[in-house]
């Protein structure tokens, strides 16, 4: 009885964030101009591939937001990693190693964020705002204010629209996204560390008094998120085939929006991986649909703005009914 009840509630809880997504997909599917092409498998694959980069960053951002922080440097971090991968490949470093360099750079920036936040006791907003400038500046520096061309390698096959090898069904990037979503969901929900992250976000003082090493939790949280941004940078390089220091300008707000649309609370203690993914896909399908319809950009901007508000309103209404 009790189990059944909680089971039902869980399903309702799961369906919740999907409402917005289903709405967006339905609306575009009903548009006569694109109806046949919108829900086409190839298009869905293509949207999924486009989402990989934002999704990877948003996974880390979920962890950060759950623990009561915020990371404005995510997009710059991604750009830095993207540039470093190209730089490394140009130096003759093997692609795998180059990718690791990118991921490691992301992790370093993340670690620095965490370190400064905990050591200097600064608010995350400011530290990561500063780091946003620093990482972006470093990226431009490394790239000498240009984009870096690098010879093609298998790295550039990770984000293709049509998967190679074909038995993968979808591109390796999508598999990576799925894999890391699962890992992060388990980390957040099933591990002691995840619980501590929630506790720190919900009430830091309490967590500290209960013997949680809040500083360590935060440093780890930012480092993990940084690593994921680094990975997203590798994916961006894979997609662009060049190291572009100006890539993903302003993307941090999209990433944060995805997490919040998915039910994350900026005051900490709330958020889920599934919700975040839904948030990412809402935004991606919106962009895709608007482009396919050929709507002008300003129209798209207005619609996306309105949908962000609407999606979160829906989510809140659902919560209130509970």
């Amino acid at each position: 009885m009790k189990v059944a009840g909680s089971g039902l509630k869980k399903i309702a809880g799961l369906a919740g964030p999907f409402v917005g997504l289903i709405l967006v997909i339905t609306i575009f599917s009903l548009m006569p101009e694109v109806s046949d092409r919108f829900l086409n498998l190839a298009n869905i694959k293509s949207v999924a591939t486009q989402s990989v980069i934002v999704a990877l960053c948003a996974l880390g951002m979920t962890l950060i937001i759950v623990s009561g922080g915020i990371d404005l440097s995510a997009a710059s971090n991604l750009a830095l990693s993207c540039v470093l991968v190209a730089y490394a490949i140009n130096l003759g470093v093997p692609p795998l190693l180059a990718a690791l360099v990118g991921v490691a750079a992301g992790g370093t920036i993340g670690f620095l964020n965490g370190f400064l936040i905990t050591r200097l006791r600064l608010v995350p907003f400011i530290v990561t705002l500063g780091m946003m400038g620093i990482a972006r500046g470093l990226a431009k520096w490394v790239a000498r204010n240009q984009k870096i061309d690098a010879p093609l390698s298998w790295l550039n096959e990770l984000m293709v629209r049509t998967s190679k090898p074909s038995w993968l069904l979808v591109s390796p990037g999508i598999w990576l996204m799925i894999l890391f979503s699962l890992v992060m969901a388990v980390l957040l929900r099933k591990t002691v560390f995840g619980r501590h992250a929630f506790a720190v976000g919900s009430n830091e003082l309490t967590a500290r008094l209960c013997g949680v090493r809040t500083d360590r939790v935060k440093v780890v949280v930012y480092t993990i998120s940084g690593l994921l941004c680094g990975l997203a940078g590798v994916m961006e390089f894979s997609r662009l085939t060049v190291g572009d220091p100006t890539v993903a300008m302003g993307l941090e707000l999209d990433i944060i929006a995805a997490v919040v649309i998915g039910g994350g609370s900026l005051s900490g203690g709330e958020g889920s991986i599934l919700g975040t993914l839904v948030g990412v896909f809402i935004m991606a399908f919106l962009r895709n649909g608007c482009t396919m319809m050929g709507w002008p950009n300003y129209f798209q901007e207005i619609i996306i703005g309105a949908i962000i508000i609407a999606a979160v309103t829906l989510d809140r209404l659902r919560h209130r009914q509970e």
Partner: protein, 308 residues
Amino acid sequence: RRGDKQSSGPRTYKVAVIPKGTTHEFWKAVHAGAVKAGQELGVEIFWKGPQKEDDRAQQITVVEDFISRRVDGIVLAPLDDRALMRPVDEAMREGIPVVIMDSNLQGDNYISFVATDNYQGGVLAARRLAEVLGGKGKIFLIRYLEGSASTTFREQGFLETITRDYPGIEFLVKDQFAGTTTESAYQLTENLLSRYPQVEGIFAPNESSTFGALRALQHFGLAGKVKLVGFDSSVKLIQALENNEIQGLALQDPMKMGYLAVKVLLDHIQGRPVEKRIDTGVTMATPENMNRPEIRSLLEPDFARYVR
């Protein structure tokens, strides 16, 4: 499959035209050209740039989305000569022909390349600035944006010509980027003017940076005293040209570019042979020659008929 289309009688082709951004006057004129071609040739034009100006990743997304939409052809002004290669390859592979305009794309897996010779534009600007300065003086080169190909060529053309041909001209600044907005160019120039009051000439490689520099000069009361050579045109720049606050504007022919790109694409779709490289020319407008009709039409392309 081209044959299929021809045999299915008269039909409207759907063509996506993808600029680098949507808010510069320059792209408005390209749009007008494309629409003009569309009206004349019976093509429906989808005009869609990346949502954020100059965002390579988003431009890739836009190309991909139009591949998903299965348009009949794409005209693309690539933000990056490398990054856009793969989506273009993909389009071509899926039977969607692509014409490149404005900036080059590496490789040659496209139908045709329709563009201004940007390097030549930089050279023209250098000659003009040297001319008004009498071959000597101290100048700023204000750059546009890190990694933007067309403006980089202009900057390069300018820089190389000055260094090679005009030893009397000295660069006070040549590595500062104005950024994408007028305001950022405005502030940059102001701050540079505070530092180097001795400056005598400025070159800015696109409309927004030219206008920003102009506003800064006006602000300092130096407009007309410090010689300014810019790129592209807009109402305010034309006024400044009239008032002799700007001594030269390198003009492309964006309407022609948009028109030709669509036309070439349609030629290809309908099986006619096309040239691989089409130059749309670059001209220097000066206060002296600006009232000649051929210059006037470049300064103020008549696009109101095609786009609002």
